[in-house]
């Protein structure tokens, strides 16, 4: 019996929700309302407040907090720091997402072929994902050390001169990217593995019977069937990478650390505007723009990946 027919009854010629429907709806409210209330308190209200603040010149401690409309947004378009942050974050996100995907997909292909050792490899690759960011960022800072770091030591074996990973304004962002790729690779790997494993064997066998090469099989059977997983990986990785903060905070501390502008990312710029300069309204406007950008990029990814489906 379909549920809908139980939803309403006719009583005295009027359509009422049935008793059953009352019970179900009542349960929804009782169960959901406390959760939604908490959710509103910790997410919706602060975010809404922050959005409203973006239209004010709201300095945390100044007594003068005038409404300024879109002035904050306009100032941002001239703000060299914001534009640098925008550029850096975009490069960072693009690079991190693309590189981690391009590496993890073939690895997942390889892993799908192995059986016993596969589980062991999965565990190893996933290890970086579960480590907390602060200690690993500190560890990587030491690995990247120009003078005593183990990375430069390893490179010296192949004749590469020491690279100033964190102190060079050109390279610092890439050092960050490498570290982030290392961190999220395992997660993408597991997801792709699942996707690959879920491809019905019949399609692959059909391709083999048709005489397809490995590459053709990958390109025309595997890849299209991985669409939804690919989309999921891309979207989550993009959102996370646009919101990068902790690594930057840790790696810019100290005198041997990255030059401020080289790794200036959007959330770090927001943090600095809010906590160092106390321009809360301005920082809020910046956050709004960041959210908009992420939404647009995500929508674009949806369109791009979905659009290729026949």
């Amino acid at each position: 019996m379909p549920a809908e027919s139980l939803a309403v009854v006719k009583r005295g010629g009027v359509v009422w929700p049935s008793r059953r429907q009352w019970r179900l709806t009542g349960f929804c409210y009782v169960a959901l309302v406390p959760i939604l209330a908490l959710f509103a308190y910790i997410r919706v209200f602060p975010i809404a407040w922050s959005l409203i603040l973006s239209f004010y010149q709201w300095d945390l401690i100044s007594l003068h907090k005038p409404f300024v409309g879109f002035a904050n947004y306009v100032s941002l378009t001239h703000d060299a720091n914001f534009l640098t942050a925008l550029k850096n974050t975009t490069i960072y996100s693009l690079a991190t997402v693309v590189v981690s995907t391009v590496i993890s997909l073939p690895l997942a292909m390889f892993l799908s072929g192995t059986t016993r050792v596969g589980v062991f490899y999965q565990a190893i690759y996933f290890l970086p994902v579960i480590t907390p960011m602060v200690p690993m960022a500190i560890a990587w800072k030491w690995i990247y050390d120009y003078n005593y770091g183990i990375l430069n030591y390893a490179l010296s074996f192949v004749g590469v001169k020491p690279i100033p990973w964190l102190t060079s304004s050109r390279i610092a962002l890439w050092a960050l990217i490498i570290m982030s790729v290392w961190k999220i690779l395992g997660y993408n790997l597991i997801l792709f593995l699942v996707g690959i494993r879920n491809i019905p064997l019949v399609y692959l066998e059909a391709a083999d019977l048709d005489g397809a090469t490995s590459w053709q099989r990958f390109r025309f059977v595997t890849l299209p069937l991985l669409k939804s997983i690919l989309l999921y990986v891309l979207v989550t990785a993009t959102i996370n990478s646009y919101n990068v903060f902790t690594q930057v905070y840790v790696m810019t501390l100290g005198s041997q650390s990255a030059p401020g502008n080289a790794v200036r990312v959007l959330v770090y710029d927001i943090y600095q505007n809010a906590f160092s300069y106390f321009h809360m309204g301005y920082a809020s406007a910046e956050a709004v723009i960041l959210t908009m950008i992420v939404l647009v990029v995500t929508a674009f990814q949806f369109g791009f990946v979905r659009g290729e489906e026949t």
Binding site: I61, N147, S169, S255, Q256, F275
Partner: protein, 449 residues
């Protein structure tokens, strides 16, 4: 499923909610326990961004408790960046400590926002009792009222030099002018067979976050005759380095890194480098002495004033009086002030410097015992006659000015297009100065007359 089909589910859900609730309540109880327990005594909370001051604060608190047994002091420390973050959120919202030490770059914002009360009359009297140099006392005068008490000096930066390295290079006396410093540094710099620098002759502040790069830039700018900001007769401000002095200072850094190669961003810097012997000279504050005592007590080093630009010019020294303040929203103001008067007295001043290496601002202290043990304190506690002090303007925009300049300088120092290119150097200085003026304009402080 139970016979009535209900109680099992309710139990489970209730249990989970109770468990979570109990967990939170217990945690909350732990959090509240402190405050309720302290009902009989007065507990002052003190926040500091200088973890190395904690033993000093605790020692003073113990000393104060001898005469005031009902007063306890809770000292909370994080490193500087975190302390500034916490204060900027806590103080305006009324959740801050009774007492905090912070630089004037932040305190001036709190004063602007009405979050710091002017000092009570007895405290002002104490300040003017002659214990402190008048320029130090006036530093805490904002708009005719006094805020906070001077605790230690955050700078008085001078030049540390490694005696054995200088002797080894055949340099008889530590350099006293900037041209001499460059000459000495070139002799002291060591490079290995691959061309990589293994020891810098002079360790400069070339990178790092915050405003430090700009502050250290002024160590060269000031002797050269400029300053970051100039004040007009009418009380307005504008940049004061878009001139020959500013260009000379930037030129010095660019040359140091690119032409004479006496320093390199890639080599270790700062106190760590000096302690380890990977730099022969550098400009820093007195706390380095404590580091050396701890990490390399046999190091043979000396301290002299930062060189002057020419033999004719004056030595200059940056004074950065750091204050300790009573929160305007504190519920224990009179006790806090009393504690602070004790904290800043002459006996504790000696304790401060000998325990932590930070120099107390008090001038009525007998430093002889300290100097007998550690003569390197000489320049810091008793600067030579004729030295010219300079302080930073006390304004809320200062931090932003220095931080943004720091970012530009860090890029400029290593920019190869500035090497042997005075025109580009001049243009770069001009751009930086324009940004500084821009910040002043936004803050409503700009003026040239």
């Amino acid at each position: 499923m139970n016979s009535d089909g209900h109680s099992g589910a309710v139990d489970r859900r209730t249990f989970l909610k109770l468990a979570a609730g109990t967990g939170l309540a217990t945690a909350g109880g732990l959090g509240f326990a402190r405050t309720s327990f302290a009902a009989s005594t007065v507990t002052l909370s003190l926040w500091t961004g200088y973890p190395e001051l904690v033993p000093f604060y605790k020692g003073v608190a113990a000393g104060y408790a001898k005469t005031h047994p009902n007063v306890a002091v809770n000292v909370f420390s994080t490193s500087l960046r975190e302390a500034e973050t916490k204060l900027s959120a806590a103080v305006p919202t009324g959740t801050g400590p009774d007492i905090y030490d912070i630089g004037t770059n932040i305190s001036v914002k709190f004063i602007d926002g009405g979050l710091l009360d002017p000092n009570p009359p007895d405290v002002v009297q104490y300040m003017k009792s002659g214990a402190w140099d008048s320029s130090v006392v006036e530093f805490f005068n904002i708009g005719g009222k006094y805020y906070g008490l001077p605790l230690q000096d955050g700078s008085r930066a001078s030049m540390f030099y490694n005696k054995s390295l200088l002797k080894e290079a055949g340099i008889a006396a530590p350099p006293s002018t900037f041209p001499q410093v460059v000459e000495a540094a070139r002799k002291l710099t060591k490079v290995d067979s691959t061309g990589k620098m293994t020891r810098s002759g002079l360790s400069l502040r070339l990178s790092g976050q915050g405003s430090g790069i700009a502050e250290k830039f002024r160590f060269v700018l000031e002797p050269a005759g400029g300053s970051l900001i100039g004040k007009t007769a009418s009380g307005k401000y504008h940049n004061n380095y878009d001139n020959a002095a500013g260009r000379a200072a930037l030129q010095f850094y660019v040359d140091a890194v690119q032409k004479y190669k006496i320093d390199d961003p890639k080599i270790p810097h700062d106190a760590d480098a000096f302690v380890a012997g990977t730099t022969a000279m550098f400009f820093r504050e007195a706390w380095v002495i404590g580091e050396i005592q701890q990490k390399n007590p046999t190091l043979d080093y000396g301290v002299v004033p930062i060189p002057r630009w020419t033999a004719a010019g004056p030595y200059k020294m940056l004074l950065q009086p750091w204050g300790i303040y009573v929160n305007g929203k504190s519920g224990n103001k009179s006790v806090s002030w009393d504690f602070l008067k004790f904290l800043t007295n002459a006996q504790n001043a000696v304790q401060l410097t000998s325990m932590t290496g930070w120099v107390s601002e008090r001038r009525d202290v007998d430093w002889k015992p300290l100097l007998a043990k550690t003569p390197q304190f000489q320049v810091f506690v008793a600067p030579p006659k004729g030295i010219v002090f300079y302080v930073e303007p006390v304004m809320s925009a200062w931090d932003e000015i220095e931080t943004k300049l720091a970012d530009r300088l860090a890029e400029a120092y290593v920019d190869p297009s500035l090497n042997n290119n005075p025109t580009k150097v001049a243009a770069t200085i001009h751009t930086m100065a324009a940004e500084t003026d821009g910040i002043l304009k936004t803050a409503g402080l700009y003026g040239t007359a």
